[in-house]
Symmetry: C2
Subunit: 410 residues, 2 copies
């Protein structure tokens, strides 16, 4: 057994693959046409193990991918957003490497124990975090597949391996490329433990039952079926769900919180940080349902929190310490307070910082809040009693998935 962040994991007895279906709200899998769109995954849900689990807060990509590979919440690993304000320097930082990570990963410790590990991700921003402390494994992104080298990524010629060139950042193929790479690695017997992390581009634009979502998910499902066919134990998980963030007329429902608080408390009174911000935000304009607020002037925190809570669409405000403790987030990276949007509202800073032109006619769909915490949790095989009991008796988390695939399947 390999010890990682206080939990023990068995080395894989056969090829084991965890797929993070980025933004795969459980409603995609429950929609009325789900049986046709997801024949393979539906079969796994019937014949293996299927439940709903809670993602880590905030329900964004980085905190959850890192939670999944560390088997631990953000308070343990330090990643509580894609983007944060460094309290020491006052700088706003885009997380693009593993510098802010405070914990080792299951992938790293397995690689150090001689297991052949591969981590493949759609966007390169995640790659260095997933590969943190890994030794001798394979780790690359489909975004930069063409630039992978043996020295840096443990593999070269990824485009040749997959049989096509690196996809466009805003194409669904960015995710399918990840899965195809995983299939090839299995077919060529180059890895025993794989983590494949997709992009939520399609889910941001298309809800359950929409043609484009169906087309993408059918392609994902076929590839998941192929992974199982190759004899792998497959775990399917998501980093967060997804909801329409619109008014009744379909227009985006956005609270520009920095603007509203500035109007009330004066220019420069507060800074609102949107931790969904990442290098590629065309599909959501950096708008999610969780933000951190920093006071920049001598203000009464309670008064500013009250003002934020009174804005329609704000579901909940919490002071930073309460939020950190309640949602197991690192306190030193927390705001003076946080604001969480309701199911159908996103919170931004000011109009100038959010460009919604990239939506290109789609309605706004996004995540980050409590409404996107419920995600599917599926294992291709039945799991043992210890895992079944865990799922019955405590709140199952998305970051329990490696426990289930490594310790739960005989």
């Amino acid at each position: 057994m390999i010890q990682v962040n206080g939990r023990a994991y068995a080395k894989p007895g056969r090829p084991t693959v965890v797929v993070c279906l980025d933004g795969c709200d459980p409603r995609y899998l429950n929609f009325k046409n789900a049986g046709e769109v997801f024949p393979n995954i539906s079969r796994m849900m019937r014949e293996g193990f299927s439940a709903l689990a809670d993602a880590a807060m905030p329900t964004f990509t980085n905190p959850n991918n890192v939670s999944i590979v560390t088997g631990a919440p953000p308070v343990v690993h330090g990643i509580s957003g894609n983007y944060y304000l460094d309290r020491k320097t006052g700088e706003e930082i885009m997380i693009v490497d593993a510098t802010p990570m405070r914990a080792t990963t299951i992938l790293a410790e397995m690689s150090r124990a001689g297991v052949r590990v591969a981590a493949v991700t759609a966007k390169d921003k995640l790659r260095k975090m997933l590969g943190h402390r890994m030794e001798g494994g394979i780790c690359f992104s489909s975004e930069k597949a063409g630039q992978a080298t043996a020295a840096e990524n443990g593999i070269a010629d990824v485009e040749a391996l997959v049989g096509r060139s690196s996809p466009d950042m805003y194409s669904p193929d960015l995710s399918l490329f990840v899965l195809d790479a995983g299939i090839k690695l299995l077919e060529q017997d180059r890895a025993d433990l794989l983590y494949l992390s997709l992009s939520d581009l399609v889910q941001h634009a298309h809800g359950p039952g929409e043609r484009e979502a169906d087309a993408f998910h059918s392609a994902v499902d076929a590839r998941v079926g192929r992974l199982a066919e190759l004899g792998a134990v497959v775990g399917l998980i998501a980093d967060h769900g997804m909801n329409d963030k619109t008014n009744a007329d379909g227009t985006p429902k956005v609270i520009f919180l920095e603007e509203e608080l500035t109007a009330r408390f004066g220019q420069g009174a507060v800074r609102v940080i949107c931790p969904i911000t990442d290098p590629f935000v065309k599909h959501h304009g950096a708008l999610g349902s969780f933000v951190r607020i920093y006071l920049r002037k001598q203000l009464e925190l309670a008064a500013v929190m009250e003002a934020a809570a009174a804005i329609p669409g704000v579901a909940l405000v919490l002071d930073g310490k309460s939020a950190a403790l309640r949602y197991e987030m690192p306190l030193d990276r927390e705001g003076d307070f946080v604001a969480i949007g309701d199911t159908h509202a996103v919170i931004g800073s000011s109009r100038a910082e959010h460009d919604l032109k990239g939506l290109a006619g789609h309605r706004l769909r996004s995540h980050g809040g409590l409404s996107e915490q419920v995600v599917p949790f599926i294992v291709s095989h039945p799991v043992n009693e210890a895992c079944r009991k865990l799922a019955e008796n405590r709140r199952l988390r998305n970051f329990d998935i490696f426990d289930f695939v490594l310790n739960g399947v005989g």
Copy 2:
């Protein structure tokens, strides 16, 4: 050490009192005049231990009072509302005794170990739960102080003890009577471990800084000061916070969810249960920010949840199992789904079931949701390192208070 629900508690070495300040939102204690209104409690906050803690969900009186005396969340003790629908019989049940309780209490086990225990509550509805399994202790309510007998309550002549007759149900004195009774029991050396649970009548009507709230809190503070003066270790906790539940114009912000879902899915489609409902609801009209929804017809759960989540003011909907696991509530008493209101919205069933005439000119203030989970957690004395570490390293809960006063103060 006495074992209760998996935790160990030291017998009190000196008189120990836990006061549940019903509905005492932390903002009452942070308001600008708080130093004058709360001189004794402010001193305890400076010289003893003071933090914010999270109440149990839903943030109602019964679930939280029972969590506090059991030291455990609702999934352990079974009380997840004041009012619930029994799935086996279909009956709607007002909880007025200990029948639905599934766990013993700290008070009961201390009384069985020979500690002189007293539990005093404002409303009689709570009394039987607080006295559950108690042996030879004192347990009465100010509501029925005049009817207390040695056989039933372990004490008679309560009105003589306190020096006045049982107060009106809708008077602030209902709470002050509880505190005065506690003071008398200490003065006469009749108990070593006391739990004193107040009523939130005043907080429902008056926010921080309002004259009526100040007057009530000054009276509470003086009595808390007297308890400390008598040499007791005093723990102060709340069952939930409190927020204005109003539109910008001060009118109540109410979602009549059963009406809205009936309009959408047909007569008799759903039943909405408001677990805030109790025998005395004039001050809030049985309107809180957490409801349970039961489907009465063959409907697609996801479709009904979607419809509910789309209503402005609904912060979050969760299927029953997810809600039960996330908030540690008993699954067999959960709805098909739950709906949680945002900071300033309450959710009711239909207009006919909620009478707001009792507000008598006050704006609607209430609780039940996530925004009322943060409560003050105060101990009159400094606590030991084990307690301090607990408060730093994990989410402090209001039901940790007995641990702090019994195990944390030397």
